[in-house]
């Protein structure tokens, strides 16, 4: 199951890249296509944040992960590098679990 997913993602993502380099540019010149293509990463990443941080199974929960996300927001506002943001959030969540 997992290997199938890995291969589907690999083949699909490669073809999406190659397709862009091979398709005539007029496709992009349709403004609706361009707007939707711009917005898809925004919507997906935001949904991934929400599901990753605030759910367990089918339940909505607020736990140490939410604290980690709060720290990530602060670090991003301070323009911290990616790795500092990611591991900063992990560290705070881990410490919170130890203490609470």
């Amino acid at each position: 199951m997992m290997w199938t997913a890995v291969i589907v993602a690999a083949v699909g993502c490669y073809l999406l890249k190659l397709g862009g380099l091979s398709v005539p540019p007029w496709v992009l010149e349709r403004p609706v296509v361009e707007r939707v293509a711009d917005l898809i990463p925004v919507a997906l990443l935001s949904a991934l944040v929400a599901v990753q941080v605030f759910t367990r199974g089918h339940e909505i929960v607020v736990d140490a992960r939410a604290l980690g996300l709060g720290v990530a927001v602060v670090l991003l506002l301070l323009r911290a590098p990616f790795l500092v943001v990611v591991f900063g959030a992990a560290l705070v969540a881990a410490v919170a679990r130890l203490l609470l």
Binding site: V23, V36, D38, L44, A93
Partner: protein, 229 residues
Amino acid sequence: MSDAPLEPRARSAIIRDSLGVGVATGAYGVSFGAISVASGLSVAQTCALSLLVFTGASQFALVGVVAAGGAPISGALTALLLGTRNTLYGLRLAPLLAWRGVRRVLAAHVLIDESTAMSVTRETRDAARLGFLVTGVSVFVLWNVATFAGAVAGNELGDPRRYGLDAAVGAAFLALLWPRLHRRRNRLVAVAAAAVALGIVPMAPAGVPVLAAAGVALVAGVLTRERDA
């Protein structure tokens, strides 16, 4: 588009900048490797993702959906949806890079956020190709080495929750999203997408809420007319 050859000084400046981006980005691979094995993938599967999928946000998405209990195939679908932005980059870069045949087939694999950013603003074809290749290849090499290191280390650690690695996943997605939140329209779409996803979590199978949120992008893209700044 000028076909003028590059001066040596301009050439070394592009190489230096591109390698810098390669090193900085490649290092994220450690976090991807660690998060991927924490999500239940094997070291081999984790390395296969970095070698073959090779587009960071899609890889994080796949393992993120799996970590949340989703079917691997819905993780793959989410990865594909995120991968559509590389198609967009390709459309922009195609006339600039102007590669055909085998070169285009090979170049496509390293068509990612960073190689696009380091080539799309160049004024000559030589400069664009150099920025694209040096960035793409250096990110590819370092990303894969770092993924392997992170995956092996993550495997040795045991329960990922003890180290807060489950919180790291959300932070990684937020960091990827952050630069796109400058525009007001994007912020509205982000909030709506999160609300839609959380709203259907209680009834939908895992993995589906994230895919459903893509519908928000579709609706917003079709309904808005002007591009607000």
